[in-house]
């Protein structure tokens, strides 16, 4: 495992080199959250509420969601596409390494820097703004479950985006697939709106898919009291899908390598 940790360390350092870019991107995201804050203050003006959300809780929802924006995403797919199309994969194939683990640690190295910076930017408002702080659950239990689900979410998301990245063996570009998954996931994981304001039949469908456990569920752990049975269900769903997509990834990778012709696909 040592070689993978060295790779992780190198990519972590490289990502730190690009911190100006990351920080300006995060600031733009923070600005986007400010816009959400403004819009919701107008929608819920005069004490109105939607389902269980009043103005304070909806602001907490979006502010807390900022903590989880740096999880594995379509960048993993893009980086795999680049590796396959540019023929850089050939360098990997002749080395005594597991390509799946290589890509994982390479992407993790980049992600960790963003996760740290995201936490630095988004955590203080949750602690310092009284109206938001009052809606947040900072108990040890909440921290434990959030950490556990964050780790599992990242594992699942990696296998999911790795599977899509494997499509680069067959298609000239994966940007269409990235576009579809990006848009679909922003609805399914509750990035756009809290899933519990959707009709019940949609909530039921979303609950058996893994995506809501990578954002919506994490936010709900922090801003509300979730029954223990849902934690168990969530763990079951996300573990099953992680195993499923790990298998899919490995099968696609194996089949894709047969199709791979080094440079100039």
């Amino acid at each position: 495992m040592k070689k993978y940790f060295i790779l992780f360390k190198i990519l972590f350092q490289v990502a730190l080199e690009h911190r100006a870019n990351i920080i300006s991107n995060l600031l733009m995201h923070l600005l986007g959250l400010g816009v959400f804050y403004f819009v919701w203050s107008k929608i819920l003006a005069g004490g109105a509420s939607i389902e269980s959300y009043d103005f304070n809780s909806i602001v907490s929802y979006y502010m807390t969601s900022g903590l989880f924006i740096a999880f594995f995403n379509t960048r993993t797919t893009k980086s795999m596409e680049k590796m396959i199309k540019d023929g850089k994969l050939s360098n990997l194939l002749v080395k005594p390494i597991n390509e799946f683990l290589y890509v994982f640690f390479q992407e993790l190295g980049k992600r960790i820097v963003v996760i740290i910076l995201t936490t630095i930017i988004f955590l203080p408002p949750l602690i310092l703004i009284p109206n938001i702080r009052n809606t947040i659950n900072f108990s040890l239990g909440a921290i434990f479950w959030t950490t556990l689900f964050s780790i599992l979410s990242n594992l699942f998301l990696f296998t999911f985006f790795f599977s899509i990245g494997c499509l680069a063996f067959w298609f000239k570009s994966t940007s269409g697939f990235r576009n579809i998954t990006g848009n679909l996931l922003s609805i399914l994981k509750g990035a756009w709106f809290p899933i519990d304001i959707a009709p019940t039949f949609l909530q039921n469908i979303f609950s058996i898919l893994p995506f809501q456990y990578t954002r919506y569920f994490l936010i709900k752990i922090i801003i509300s009291d979730i029954p223990k049975s849902l934690y168990i269900k969530g763990l079951g769903v996300i573990i099953i899908y992680t195993l499923l997509f790990t298998s899919i990834s490995l099968v696609l990778w194996k089949k894709g390598l047969k199709k791979y012709e080094s440079v100039g696909i």
Binding site: A20, L26, L27, M28, L31, G176, N179, I180, N183, A198
Partner: protein
């Protein structure tokens, strides 16, 4: 002057043709992007529906008004994706790799040539979606639509697109100093208030910011209100004025940025 404009149009048409040929090469990708943006629009209309099932209106505007204004906003959004957004990365690359020299040495307007080189034709096909959303709203509620209103709507849409492009160019200018620049995400990250009636900008400070400085109150609202016959003409003239001021400011900043450009490889 006219000769220069003719030359510019000719160059832009050649660039469009090249980009269209690339689209044919990547046609499956275009189809997938179309489906991706369909999902986005379904999500947005779902969201408006969920919210307005609980809240009857915002400042007197109901669900259908909100869907219609969203449709108009998406119309501008798709043209932005077609023309402006796809140039952000290529602009950063030009600076970072030192290829920007090839732009400034050409006898052509460098702002347009550097920021309107790539055209994502896959988003042009997506334009059908805002039209469907607009039709959905128009057939669900009665609006008084006139020919004059449509003309004003088209004119103000063109002005809005120019302003949007200029805002984008301004956020790209720091690249001359920073080289690594994420500020070009400013526009896509902050457009949400545009899809709401401008009455939401209800304080003096908000009015100054969103009507004059970052004119989000005008960009979608003016074409939308022109279309449904509720345009306050003074805001149309304000949009013309803002376009001129933005063009001037962009030119000044751009020239200032150019003076600081040192070619990345040097």
């Amino acid at each position: 002057m006219i000769k220069n404009i003719k030359k510019l149009i000719k160059v832009e048409l050649i660039l469009m043709k090249l980009n269209l040929e690339m689209l044919i090469e990547y046609r499956l990708n275009a189809v997938l992007i179309f489906f991706g943006s369909t999902l986005y629009n379904i999500g947005a209309v779902m969201f408006i529906t969920f919210v307005f099932n609980r809240i009857p209106n915002i400042y007197g505007w109901d669900k259908w008004d909100m869907i219609l204004i969203y449709g108009v906003g998406q119309f501008l959004g798709y043209i932005y994706l077609f023309s402006t957004y796809s140039n952000n990365h290529s602009f950063l690359n030009l600076i970072q790799k030192g290829d920007f020299d090839s732009i400034i040495t050409k006898p052509i307007n460098s702002i347009i040539y550097a920021t309107l080189r790539n055209f994502s034709f896959e988003h042009i096909f997506g334009l059908i979606q805002p039209f469907i959303i607009i039709l959905y709203a128009l057939t669900s509620k009665y609006y008084h639509i006139t020919f004059a209103g449509i003309i004003f709507c088209i004119t103000s849409s063109i002005l809005s697109l120019i302003i949007i492009h200029l805002i984008n160019v301004i956020t790209l200018i720091p690249t001359f100093w920073m080289q690594e620049n994420g500020f070009y995400r400013f526009y896509p990250q902050t457009t949400e208030p545009m899809n709401y009636p401008y009455e939401i900008f209800d304080s003096k400070l908000l009015k100054v910011i969103f009507f004059y400085i970052i004119p989000y109150a005008l960009l979608v609202n003016i074409p939308f209100r022109a279309l449904i016959g509720k345009l306050d003409i003074k805001f149309f003239f304000l949009e013309i004025l803002v376009t001129i001021i933005y063009a001037f400011i962009t030119k000044v900043f751009w020239d200032f940025g150019l003076k600081n450009y040192q070619s990345a490889s040097s």
